[in-house]
């Protein structure tokens, strides 16, 4: 009886300690969120969102930085989606079970773990210098593409695997080729998962600084790029540059910038998640 009691007591203690750790995580996250919002909301107004920075960003707005980030992410999406989705299709529908496929999987998980600054170096050497795209939206987007690809590939493969095998067989049994089966049945059926996973990956790309540090970003630029070969301002880089190289940077404006960035990423991610669960309710296997 005594032994049982002691076991119960130990369990209670363990549970409390572990629970406290879980709560700590929640508290940290809540603190981060509240801190950003409370420090940043004052700066947010239409003018701040649309006008360009004045006096090295101590005054004015962040219009060009928002636009630049949108540019970068759009171009990244343009490159990443087709390639990433096809690569996911390869792994799920075409790849044989062999050493090569295993190596590809290994390469993909490894790509996800390569430090973002190393992608920056690679982008500098490959796109800025060798391909001679200069420091530009194009170079930055290509660099971000390399970083985002593993996310899109993994999301696609997982979504494709959810599609029941029966559905593929039904299409093949109707005399469809493999590609037609993939294009008309498998891909449409798995779109919610693919799109949501990709959006989450692209939202992350929007917040990256290190990869664009020497491939795309410029500290001050009065307007949006006119071509993919122009440099751009970007939200995360703007925060970094202000904090580290502008004396007496404006706290209000920089926290405002951080809020815009975090809110943008969160809103897009949440919207993608909600959209997926709505779609999932429609398609149930």
């Amino acid at each position: 009886m005594n032994r049982v009691k002691r076991a119960r007591l130990t369990e209670q203690i363990a549970k409390t300690v572990l629970g406290l750790m879980a709560v700590t995580v929640l508290v940290i996250a809540a603190a981060v969120l509240i801190y950003i919002v409370s420090k940043g909301y004052r700066a947010i107004n239409w003018e701040f969102l649309t006008t360009r920075p004045v006096k090295l960003g101590r005054e004015g707005g962040i219009g060009p930085a928002i636009g630049g980030t949108v540019w970068l992410v759009s171009l990244t999406a343009l490159f990443t989606l087709p390639v990433g989705i096809l690569a996911g299709v390869y792994l799920s529908e075409y790849a044989a079970r062999n050493l090569l496929t295993r190596s590809i999987r290994l390469a993909i998980t490894n790509m996800a773990g390569v430090p973002s600054i190393v992608y920056g170096l690679f982008g500098l050497a490959a796109f800025v210098m060798l391909a001679n795209f200069k420091v530009s939206v194009l170079s930055g987007a290509l660099t971000l593409t390399c970083m985002t690809l593993p996310v899109v590939i993994t999301a696609t493969e997982e979504a494709l695997r959810q599609v029941p095998q029966d559905l593929r067989h039904a299409s093949l049994a109707l005399g469809s080729t493999k590609w037609r089966t993939v294009r008309k049945v498998v891909l449409p059926a798995s779109m919610p998962g693919i799109v949501t996973g990709s959006i989450l990956g692209l939202a992350r790309a929007a917040g990256e600084t290190a990869p664009i540090l020497f491939t795309a970003a410029v500290f001050m630029s009065p307007q949006l790029p006119r071509s993919p070969l122009d440099r751009v301002m970007a939200l995360p880089y703007h925060i970094y540059a202000e904090v580290t190289s502008v004396p007496n940077w404006s706290e209000d404006l920089i926290w405002g910038t951080a809020l815009v960035l975090v809110a943008g990423i969160s809103i897009v991610s949440v919207a993608a998640g909600v959209w997926r669960s709505i779609q999932r309710r429609k398609i149930r296997w």
Partner: protein, 294 residues
């Protein structure tokens, strides 16, 4: 019919190319780092760089010793693991073994939010909150220390450690838990005697991936550690990490110069370290997946 066959062949080629691209990119990264770092490896020597204790890239008698940078990364990462491992694993065990459904759902979204916050924003919070706190609490001249960067980095890697540990715990078959409980063990006894050991390889992988994440993180450490390129002796000193060095100096170097090349060599070392860490984690995870598959 001929066109149908042709389409199929073209599509096949395209799909295969995209599929193999991951290997191509990974190889290209290694090759570009190596070729651009070649000049420094040639002129300074890899051994000299790896064991050199001074990093004076711009002085007349330039010295490219990586040790201060590597140690800087090690110090910061060490602090980060000190934060993320107990909290991450503890929270994962709680969520997987004890928490109710509602709490779990909330925690999942919260962790996703934490992972989505950009590192530059964590850096900003560190600048505003942690730097002053470290300075006054430990009565230092400057709050920009390895400790400061490490704490923020630890918070940033909690989502990685937590979610992968939780996956590993979740993969342990329910029958094992029931078997242990049926022998009269409490939930906690079951957890530490059966569930955690069974998931240990996955938890190990989680720690490795958290480590990889921390070592490769750039922006937050760049903004928080003060970036003094000297051999660190304690976590209360300013340090400069490998990632921070590349980020801070690449903007000002002469392209294709020796300093430029040396920074690529730093990148190569960084790449090799994370590659080994990730590979190890991946192999461990793979083994675990196989174990539970049947």
């Amino acid at each position: 019919m001929a066109t149908r066959r042709a389409t199929e062949v073209v599509v096949r080629a395209l799909v295969f190319t995209c599929g193999w691209l991951a290997i191509v990119i990974l190889a290209a990264i290694a090759i570009f780092l190596l070729t651009n770092g070649l000049r420094s490896i040639d002129e300074v020597g890899l051994g000299t760089m790896l064991t050199g204790t001074s990093w004076y890239p711009t002085s007349d008698n330039a010295q490219f010793g990586f040790l201060p940078l590597i140690l800087g990364s090690v110090f910061v990462t060490g602090v980060a693991l000190f934060v993320s491992v107990p909290v991450g694993i503890g929270a994962a065990v709680y969520l997987s073994e004890f928490a109710g459904r509602g709490f779990k759902e909330v925690a999942k979204s919260v962790v996703e939010f934490m992972a989505a916050v950009p590192s530059v924003v964590y850096g900003l919070i560190g600048v505003a909150v942690l730097i002053p706190w470290v300075r006054t609490t430990f009565q230092l001249d400057s709050g920009m220390t390895a400790l400061t960067g490490g704490i923020v980095l630890g918070v940033m890697s909690i989502p990685t450690v937590l979610s992968i540990s939780e996956d590993a715990l979740h993969a342990v078959p329910e029958s094992l838990r029931q078997g242990s409980m049926a022998l009269g063990n409490t939930r906690w006894q079951t957890t530490y005697k059966v569930v955690v050991p069974a998931a240990s390889s996955g938890i190990f992988a989680a720690v490795m991936l958290g480590l990889g994440r921390a070592i490769g993180e750039t922006m937050a450490v760049l903004m928080l550690t003060g970036n003094a390129a000297v051999m660190p002796t304690s976590v209360f000193e300013s340090v400069r990490t490998m990632t921070g060095t590349i980020a801070a100096e690449m903007g000002e170097v002469v392209r294709k110069g020796l300093h430029y090349s040396a920074l690529f060599s730093v990148g190569l070392v960084l790449f090799a370290m994370t590659f080994v860490i990730n590979l190890a984690a991946d192999l461990v995870l793979e083994r675990q997946r196989k174990r539970w598959r049947r």
